[in-house]
Symmetry: D2
Subunit: 412 residues, 4 copies
């Protein structure tokens, strides 16, 4: 057993920490006060700097212009980026592009790759993943009403999606639609590439989430597909393979009920849990800094109050444990594959989300009235990261899923 980091990743993390602190965190005050589009020029400048430093797209293979980090190392990087909402976007490894790029890389035709892969990895275009439907439960992805019907050489797509993250301004949508309603549930849907300028692709609105419609990569759209026609060659992978691809790397024939979370969880691990650890780190840092600085009575700092100390102690311990398990999970996937890590993946989904929201809540409380304002990033974390317990399967589904895996051994 060995928890030591390689020298290479230590160096990378040092560079990233510095860049985040010096270049990214100072942008947050604009991020909180202005429309995102106004901030974009400054963001692009930072992205160029990241590319020049050779740190762009740490998760993508070197042949595509990325750093080619393994899962553990990318996890550590993702944690370092997660201290700010801007981190992943500035380093070119943001959702949902990161997942779409991986899917394209694995299942795209040569033509599809040629057209989309380069610009997406380079951050010149953006994409979105259009799966969730307002009337259907996110916890049961095989319930889906959007259809893609073959008509000559085309698919004609009809349906309503929402929570299509980052659709605003995206050039490409990866759409899940039912292509064979008679097939068994997990073989009904396919993934289809839809350029967003296709007639019938109608971005109805950016959802008002926690008081804001958002913009660009920080938005969640409602989209109507009405008679939206694309060539059949825009099919990604095989027809009916939508869920298989969503679960990626799993071989065909391996699909059954209790496994359907795997692919989704992979994305969770790549982009969520470690990012949440970054948020924890930041919130704990803000909490300690505020406590150490704030005078509450002559000569007495907030940091002198036992209750605040107890919170800091509890938060630090819970973060440390969540982090140790997350790294162990990443290691197990990298070494032994997704299947061996299934239970840990379920565990970190809800455990890390829970720790993160608690740490943010306590950090906000330590800031008092200031915590409610947008003078720190905490109120943003508080309201927007609440979604962590909902997306990619609500916590409750993951708890039950983990329990059922464990109970299998005991049932006769």
């Amino acid at each position: 057993m060995d928890f030591e980091l390689s020298e290479k990743i230590e160096t990378v993390l040092g560079m990233i920490d510095g860049f985040m602190r010096e270049e990214v965190l100072p942008l947050e005050r604009y991020f909180l006060a202005e429309p995102f589009s106004e901030l974009m020029p400054r963001i692009e400048e930072k992205r160029r700097a990241v590319k020049q430093m050779g740190l762009w797209a740490p998760n993508h293979p070197e042949e595509h212009g990325g750093l080619g980090l393994g899962l553990v190392d990318h996890g550590l990087v993702s944690e370092a980026l997660g201290v700010s909402p801007l981190g992943h976007f500035i380093f070119g490894c943001h959702a949902p592009d990161a997942g779409n790029i991986e899917i394209l890389h694995q299942h795209g035709s040569d033509e599809q790759k040629r057209r989309w892969l380069g610009p997406l990895v380079a951050g010149e275009l953006r994409s979105c993943f259009s799966m969730t439907e307002p009337e259907m439960p996110g916890s049961n992805p095989v319930m889906m009403e959007t259809t893609a019907v073959v008509d000559g050489d085309d698919y004609v797509i009809d349906g309503q999606k929402w929570y299509t993250t980052a659709a605003d301004g995206a050039a490409l949508a990866v759409v899940m639609a039912v292509t064979d309603p008679e097939a068994p549930p997990h073989r009904r849907a396919s993934m289809i590439l839809v350029p967003t300028d296709t007639p019938g692709f109608d971005l109805v609105r950016n959802l008002n989430v926690m008081g804001h419609a958002g913009e660009g990569v920080f938005s969640h759209a409602e989209i109507l597909y009405h008679s939206c026609r694309v060539p059949r060659s825009n099919l990604l992978g095989a027809e009916g393979a939508g869920f298989v691809i969503a679960q990626e790397r799993l071989g065909p024939g391996r699909i059954h009920h209790c496994m359907r979370w795997l692919g989704i969880c992979k994305r969770a691990l790549d982009l969520m849990c470690v990012r949440w650890l970054g948020i924890c780190k930041r919130a704990l840092d803000l909490m300690c800094a505020r406590a150490a600085e704030r005078t509450i009575a002559p000569g007495v700092k907030l940091a002198d109050r036992e209750i605040v100390q107890a919170w800091i102690g509890e938060c630090a311990a819970r973060i440390a444990a969540a982090r140790a398990l997350t790294l162990q999970t990443a290691w197990r996937i990298e070494r032994h594959g997704w299947k061996e890590a299934r239970q840990e993946i379920s565990a970190i989904k809800f455990l890390v989300a829970d720790v993160m929201l608690e740490v943010v809540d306590r950090a906000l409380q330590v800031h008092g009235g200031l915590g409610m304002t947008d003078d720190t990033i905490l109120a943003w974390f508080y309201r927007h990261e609440r979604a962590a317990r909902i997306y990619d399967g609500p916590d409750e589904v993951h708890k039950l899923s983990l329990a059922r895996q464990l109970l299998k051994r005991y049932r006769r």
Copy 2:
């Protein structure tokens, strides 16, 4: 012991419930989507309807045009209004005007009353209460830097305040300022009436709170007083009586450290805890309705899931207990006075806030992605009512205060 409600209040509550459901809740979608000023004409219409129904200003004495309800009955009314952020304002018993009116009524000179009381009770003018300072801990109100220096027949006020709720659009500010820095801490400050058009009253900004600067009665301002000059006749009550008045009804000489929360808590009880119970009621209602309606698998509703049921059961029980204690507290104050109810007042401040935030959080979780959007009121409650654990003394201060009262008997 008798928990029965009077027929009169049952009738009033029935009318209010109906009005809220039919007339107020439908306004929320505009409240969530538009600037508040655009909604104001429709709000004013509802206020007129409330006046016509004879339900205006339920908390104020009949001679001032109110309903003259006692504390218990007003508590029940306030709960009924609390189901929507708009309730109290539409019924003319909103913070901070309600508290300011009471203070004016009790401590104002005849001239002060003549000028302000009528229009404030009638809802024709609005006022604000300018006490909290950014660099000073809200948990320790005697730490204050704003000063009011006598200069001839005037006070000249200098200092910085923030979280001055509803200052935007208010005609009058009740300002706490140090008039005698040499006096004992609780005799240092005075309350002074400052018309907001006085030169030197500078509303710097509405604070960005949870992503929004807000407007009108739904805003919290930062205010600079620089050489803000008002006649000495604008003093409210006696010089040095600022904290005494803040603690109201307490007789002179009764002021010492452990009592300083009383007046503040009174306001808490009037306007906060029972309003929070209204929020609980609404959130539980939304949670049940959503669970009963939402299909999560063919033939299965969310309401069929045990985990959701357990949440509903727990929330209902906690609300019921918090409510029983709050009513008991209101009764004790009405019957036996503030002093006898001190421990219960401290208790409900943090207990009801805790229940409310938990119920809102779970209701949001039951709504899934929808809960994050502004298509229901839950996300608004989630982000804005988080302040309940902070204002008028953070939870922690009230816990310690309650404990110290209890421990007194045990210490030798």
Copy 3:
């Protein structure tokens, strides 16, 4: 609304508090160190004193030699007695005799009453209630394997029971047994009186509970009924009415699934929740006293530590809320009947148990190593009252039951 206590009950409570403090609490050290049988002579002496004071059997009607208190007043008395495990027994209102007496009083034949009622109320005999079976879930009482088969003028009872509280030393068992396996589930079982000296009544063992087998009224027996023969005249109430009686006062024909908890909950209210409030009161008292007395550093008491203060504040608030709801529930039953109070009954069952166990746990923690020893009553409460979340329906069942009542209105 009126929370005032009557003068009569104030007087009674004053007498009881004094007696508990002076006469009962000093017995606890023997209770914790000796077999209960050795303590019995001293207990009997106290029981005689209680009778002389005219406070015996506060819950039973005056015509049977009790005080005839209503439900609210008996609740207050039960809380006062609950501060010690010995309270209810010394005052003649202990489980399971209290419930058996009520059942006998309502459903017993004249002969049955003549034989048993007097000695049971007077505390000269003890009884037990033999319902729970080891292989059957307590949460589903209609699952039952013990049978009573008619044979001539007799019932012949066969089966296994456990958790038959206080069977050790009891003269009478009220046994639930299936008399008609073909009837609908709630009409299958009957209650039968079985004198414990009947051949075939075999008390196998007192269960080892939390390390102790217990003795007398503080024991839980496993009982084998093998060919245990009693006359048919020992049937209590009608054949098949076992569950109806268990739910008492509910009229015939009103029995359906969701109501089955009512009768059981009544007993819960009578004897459990208010007793638990007594435990809360005691534990909080011990916690405060220890904190005020214990020196943890030169000049520093435990009570000076904020964390301990925060615990005391939280415990006091939670107890106050649980208590207010419990009294409101008792009032509603007394005034409006069981049916109207169903939701509150479900609520207090799990809510008060939860508060009680938390308060006991924190009081123990405040006592440190001493809390683990039997030098205080806390360790006894900690281990034995843990059962509160299990008996008479585990918490979870009550949560679901409450939720289902609430959800009914929302389901279409």
Copy 4:
């Protein structure tokens, strides 16, 4: 980073798991029902078997007849043994002998080692560690009243100790006593070896803990030292070095306030946290097995209930996280030394205790009435392991200690 176990430890763990399951767990029913002394012959038999398997004393160096495992590997072994209260004793690595052996090994004179080390490692004799005093806070070990006064060639020891674990039947006590009351607090006390047959060593009683006085290695004694005279050569290490030794491996001069927990925590890690993980493992196993087996309605198992599943999921996740952090901590100590691991050591002390008690509590709840009995080991864990939050510094002290370490960087 590498979480793989070595082949050697995998083999050892396999052997231990098998032995625990086949040979040790079946003894628990006697352990729960009989005095420990009656069980001792069977225990001795198992200890001989462990020696024959070559697994005796896994923590002690090979030259003393142990396995010589490093900290990580011993942690894994200790977890495997922790599934039963009997594990560590049967494998010869039980508290407090394990700690005393280490202290003797490092600080004992040749003569002291010759006399005691062999028989202690071999399990032929037992020892105890006599430090805690009833009137002094365990969280502040430098507050101590027991004295050892030099009189000629002897020390004369006077004082009262309690919670001297396993004193009953021990041959040797390691006693902490003040030898220089004028020295700075951390230099006042010395460790002195006192054979328990020395006149003046008076084992007053085994404390009644959670209803039982216990016996032998499962007991906690109160001891009076009155004029207890031992030769000065029984001093362990230097005079005044009591706390230094308690903190072991720390060099002289390194002692200051915030470090005083280190040595104590080392013992915590060796014997506590990993043992608690074993308890977690066992409780989760029992919970799953019971849920899978218990029928609660026709055709429905407890394991089918969502609430039970959610508990299992939550417990499994929390255990996994606590375990990952504990192993990481063990690794850091082994690789980088105690000082580098300070924060993690504080964290696991309270975090693992908390997880353990929650898992045990839920496992007990899943067992219903059975969980309260001594038919499973759960009720024993529930009542005796509650001490985990108290001994070696209550949770709260560790939380504050961790926070203060973190806050140091932020304070100016």
